[in-house]
Symmetry: C2
Subunit: 140 residues, 2 copies
DNA sequence: TGCGTAAATCGTAATGATTCTGATTAAGAA
DNA sequence: TTCTTAATCAGAATCATTACGATTTACGCA
């Protein structure tokens, strides 16, 4: 997904375009990191110093619902990143220091679903945590 | 793990045994469900109507640190269940209705770790969500 | 271009989970 | 039994998240 697609996605679904939404989306489009609402607020502070926290939250939720952002929960916080290839299901390594993520194309669900007859599967989560090479170099 | 082992584990690590800790552990030992602190409070209310919420929290953390309980986060809440076979690494299906869990012995990390050279892996999470057969029958 | 309406944003407050504090109680060693 | 220290308690503080009512703004339409 790219920025213009994300903006189209907004409009197609009846949401209005605002400079603030644009800036939020740009921030995610330029990064492969998982960000918390607080991260976003800090990153965007220069451009929109008074952007309401509530506005950030609501918009992150909207974006995630539309599939523009991917979403996970880590140590008690919601985190978001720009959606990768929507057509190719995959998972992520997530750096616990900086939030940067790396695609893991492998998905273990193929082998698992056969073992769960009688169960109604609604979702799954496969995430790997640790330090990315940058953070290993920086923090050891 | 069984209840008596869990209690030994407490003592070996220098923690005192109290009736309340005993009751907390018994509650988990008799269930294969993931429970929130609130769930625990309700379940234990009959026996200890005035057990402090803080006490529950602290103890769940202690138990998890000692490996007596397994821990996960789901929809913004910490959840705990009695540790299964400590010697056999595995994952869980978790029912989003009732919290009941089922072992999934498969672990995808074997295939993945080779793809992450340069990364320092500290942990991973593989969980499957949905409804257990009971809840499918009950709620559809 | 200017208007009107519904949506977006704002500032603030409410909520809910989690953690902390300082006082009191009780487990377990001597 | 006594003593020391950990455990528990009640209540408050903290933090993430969500809700509220008022104000502002995007954008369809004249």
């Amino acid at each position: 997904m790219i920025l213009t697609e994300a903006i189209d996605m907004l409009k197609v679904n009846g949401y209005k375009y605002t400079d603030k939404r644009g800036e939020l989306l740009r921030l995610f489009a330029e990064s492969d990191k998982y960000l918390t609402a607080r991260d976003v607020q800090q990153a965007i502070e220069e451009k929109f110093p008074s952007l309401s926290y509530d506005t950030i939250y609501r918009n992150l939720s909207v974006f995630a619902e539309l599939g523009i952002l991917e979403y996970t929960e880590l140590s008690g916080e919601k985190r978001f990143r720009f959606a990768c290839d929507v057509n190719h299901h995959h998972h992520h390594f997530i750096c616990t220091e900086c939030g940067v993520s790396k695609d893991i194309s492998l998905c273990p669900m193929k082998e698992v679903s056969g073992r769960l007859s009688g169960y109604q599967i609604s979702g799954h989560k496969f995430e790997i945590y640790g330090k990315c090479p940058n953070c290993v170099a920086q923090f050891g």
